[in-house]
């Protein structure tokens, strides 16, 4: 499966006809009537199908928000599950329009793959999960450990850096999907599972006995996760970037899915510009004027999405921490909409 789709993607990108996919994503999505969105193969809190088969999560909300902005309907999304290894090829080859798949923003990815990162929807960092019987309290005690890890991630590189820097040895056991990684960890194949901290909490819930494992306190890297688009289509890049900004600005201005209709009567010019009653509206983006209204109405603001998927209202119970708005001492900060 993995190989086949990879090769198909490669051949597709090799054989696509003469002209380049510039400034065409918006038209293609509108003509198709559906947004093709690349998500993970199952990561609770970010992109994971629920028991009814509906995709849920912070990254899924990014897909839904863009669909609401472009098509006016958050349900018009086709979710395409991808492994970490497949994701960039799928985006490059045009198999998907948008990749919000807990993907770390790095220089190589931004500059050499023909891709653009449209913002950061979650500030993460890499951590370690160990079995409690191991009796380890710090990552510094992990010399000689076998480490389960997902293939094709920045985690693989950070892990190597961290152990090399601390003069420790390790044995990397590399799996394709996070499910397999968890299985390997449960089977005792490795002492440690490493991934982004948010994922560790999510994967811990998937264990048969979540209490048997603990997450070590060390965070060994910066992992800004965000939605990715193809380079060279600036209009689409702007749409994704400003959809994300609209989610953040809505939270900052206190506009929620529940009160957005009421807010139409608001005197606050910032609110009026946000929901498209005044100001730049949708023209510059090639969208309807009420695009941000649709996003907030159907998805809610960033805070609602966070709470529902990874925060207090979810099984993960992750603190807002650095993902709080800048007004609350966090890093989430959106440029003004004017």
């Amino acid at each position: 499966m993995i190989k086949r789709s990879l090769i198909t993607a490669t051949i597709l990108s090799a054989a696509t006809s003469g002209h380049v996919l510039a400034d065409v994503t918006l038209d293609a999505v509108k003509a198709r009537g559906v947004l093709q969105c690349g998500v993970s193969t199952g990561l609770p809190g970010f992109s994971n199908p629920d028991d009814k088969g509906n995709w849920k999560g912070l990254d899924v909300d990014m897909c839904r928000a863009v669909a609401a902005a472009v098509l006016g309907d958050a349900t018009k999304v086709k979710y395409i599950p991808l492994t970490a290894k497949e994701r960039f090829t799928a985006l490059q080859s045009g198999e998907i329009d948008l990749l919000p798949r807990n993907t770390t923003w790095t220089q190589t990815r931004d500059t050499q793959l023909g891709l653009n990162f449209a913002g950061v929807n979650y500030y993460d960092g890499q951590g370690f999960m160990v079995s409690k019987d191991l009796g380890v309290k710090s990552a510094k005690e992990l010399d000689g450990a076998a480490v389960c890890i997902q293939a094709g991630t920045t985690t693989e590189l950070n892990l190597a850096d961290y152990f090399r820097l601390n003069g420790m040895s390790y044995a990397p056991v590399v799996f394709d999907t996070s499910d397999q990684t968890v299985k390997g960890f449960e089977a005792g194949r490795c002492d440690v599972l490493t991934s982004d901290q948010s994922q560790l909490y999510a994967l811990r819930i998937k264990l048969e006995k979540p209490d048997s494992a603990m997450v070590l306190p060390e965070v060994i890297s910066k992992e800004p996760l965000g939605p990715v688009v193809r380079q060279g289509d600036d209009q689409w890049f702007n749409i994704v970037k400003w959809t994300h900004n609209a989610l953040l600005n809505a939270e900052e201005l206190g506009v929620t899915s529940a009160n957005v209709d009421e807010m139409k009567k608001s005197k606050n010019p910032n609110v009026r510009r946000l929901i498209g009653l005044e100001g730049p509206k949708g023209k510059g983006l090639g969208l309807n004027d009420d695009w941000a209204y649709q996003v907030i109405k159907q998805i809610g603001n960033y805070g609602e999405s966070f709470d529902r998927n990874v925060g207090a209202g979810s099984p993960l119970k992750v603190n807002r921490g650095i993902n709080a708005l800048w007004t609350d001492g966090g890093l989430q900060y959106a440029p003004p909409m004017r």
Binding site: I2, K3, L6, I7, A9, T10, S13, A14, A15, T16, S17, G18, V20, L21, A22, A84, K85, F88, T89, Q92, T108, R109, T111, Q112, L113, G114, L134, L142, D143, G144, A145, A146, A151, G152, T153, E156, L157, L159, A160, D161, F163, R164, Y170, A171, P172, V173, V174, F175, D176, Q180, K183, G184, A187, G188, R189, D191, R230, Q231, G232
Partner: protein, 399 residues
């Protein structure tokens, strides 16, 4: 008729060389040339179009990435490898891991397949049925499931490192099989020399014995003498040289065993699955090959008074091999290609390391996939060439 022929040919005689488009040979050449040109033009268009598109989209191309530092670790490597080595070296590491598991798999599957195949023809009812059941079970379950079975089902039952099974100075646990590793000291070179001398001497003796056999029909115990020369001689030299070897025993340090050699469970699971799966097919090929030997040959052999062992060695097997080898080659090729399923259980083969991690870290899908495909093609062609050579050697020489 004979009087007619010259008269019908005579009108064309004056320009007996037809126009070149009417000459079938030349016409064929022209068409072939056109097709080659068209194919070349097509390939050129695809390649230049791809390069153009990649450049337009700002995707880096070329093979420069091969010399860039890789920066990730690999679980098993047959050559020294560290994170500071290049992506080019990850290619070699992955390639060698693929070759290793394919080679081990081919050897083991051939042995097991021959045993099962012969067993299925046994007169012993129980043995024959057991072999039949084996074949039906293992060739009908998808290979990927078998790999998962050996990896996840069997692995889970093994103990953690601290409760390892101990066997012959080695340890078996969920992290793999840890064996003592011999460390060769100075003076071991003489043992190698003895081994080479033994092999050369055996070869010379075999030639001499064959010649004598052809001349006089006398038999020599070639097998015993070969054993003595190849195994006995180096062993003797080894002890006379004062056993210049020390063993490096694995020991539990921290979380895991250190020292010795480690057979990682991924390798064991993949090897087992490939062997067991392919052996089922080989068994059927062997059975077919043996059944293809005409019964008359057996009767002729017993009429000559050949004992059973010799009948098998000199009559049945040489003739069966002619039927067996061509499909056996396909099975070897299949096994090599199937080894790429390693990526599902994290065995660091070429697909997992190079077409997996390296591809993803560099993003250069086309170059990486191209190299990977070239490797499988080369491995398959090499296996194929070797087996064709062997086939032509064992083929029936028509007189």
């Amino acid at each position: 008729m004979s009087s007619n022929r010259p008269s019908s040919e005579s009108p064309t005689k004056p320009d007996s060389t037809p126009r070149f488009w009417n000459d079938p040979d030349k016409r064929a050449l022209i068409f072939q040339g056109l097709i080659v040109l068209a194919l070349g033009a097509f390939i050129l268009t695809v390649v230049s179009n791809t390069l153009h598109n990649l450049e337009q989209r700002g995707i880096t191309t070329g093979f420069d990435f091969l010399s860039v530092e890789a920066g990730f670790g690999i679980l098993q490597s047959l050559i020294p490898y560290s994170e500071a080595d290049s992506y080019g070296r990850t290619f070699i590491v992955g390639l060698l891991n693929t070759v290793l598991v394919s080679f081990l798999g081919i050897i083991a599957a051939t042995f097991l397949g021959f045993l099962i195949g012969v067993g299925r023809l046994s007169k012993n009812w129980l043995l024959a049925k057991i072999c039949a059941v084996y074949v039906e079970i293992f060739r009908n379950i998808p290979l990927l499931l078998q790999i998962f079975f050996w990896y996840f089902a069997v692995l889970r039952t093994l103990p953690s490192p601290r409760q390892s099974f101990e066997l012959f100075g080695g340890y078996l646990n969920v992290r793999g099989l840890y064996l003592p590793a011999p460390i060769l000291e100075d003076g071991f070179g003489i043992v190698w020399t003895a081994l080479i001398v033994g092999i050369v001497a055996t070869w010379l003796f075999k030639r001499w014995a064959d010649k004598k056999h052809d001349e006089s029909g006398r038999e020599y115990p070639v097998g015993l003498i070969a054993l003595g020369l190849i195994v006995g001689l180096p062993l003797l030299v080894f002890f006379f040289a004062g056993a210049p070897v020390t063993m490096d025993y694995p020991a539990l340090k921290g979380f895991n065993f250190r020292g010795g050699v480690t057979l990682i469970p991924e390798l064991i699971a993949l090897w087992l699955a490939l062997t067991i799966y392919t052996a089922a097919f080989i068994a059927e090929i062997v059975r077919g090959g043996i059944l293809a030997v005409p019964h008359g040959q057996l009767e002729a052999a017993s009429a000559l008074g050949l004992p059973r062992g010799r009948t098998l060695r000199f009559i049945i097997i040489p003739q069966a091999l002619r039927v067996i080898i061509p499909p056996l080659t396909s099975q070897y090729l299949n096994l090599t290609k199937n080894s790429s399923l390693a990526t599902a259980i994290g065995y660091p083969d070429l697909v997992s390391v190079f077409a997996g991690t390296t591809l993803n870290q560099t993003g250069q899908a086309i170059e990486v996939i191209f190299m990977t495909m070239a490797v499988y093609l080369t491995l398959s062609v090499l296996t194929s060439i070797f087996m064709n050579w062997y086939n032509s050697r064992s083929a029936l020489i028509e007189r």
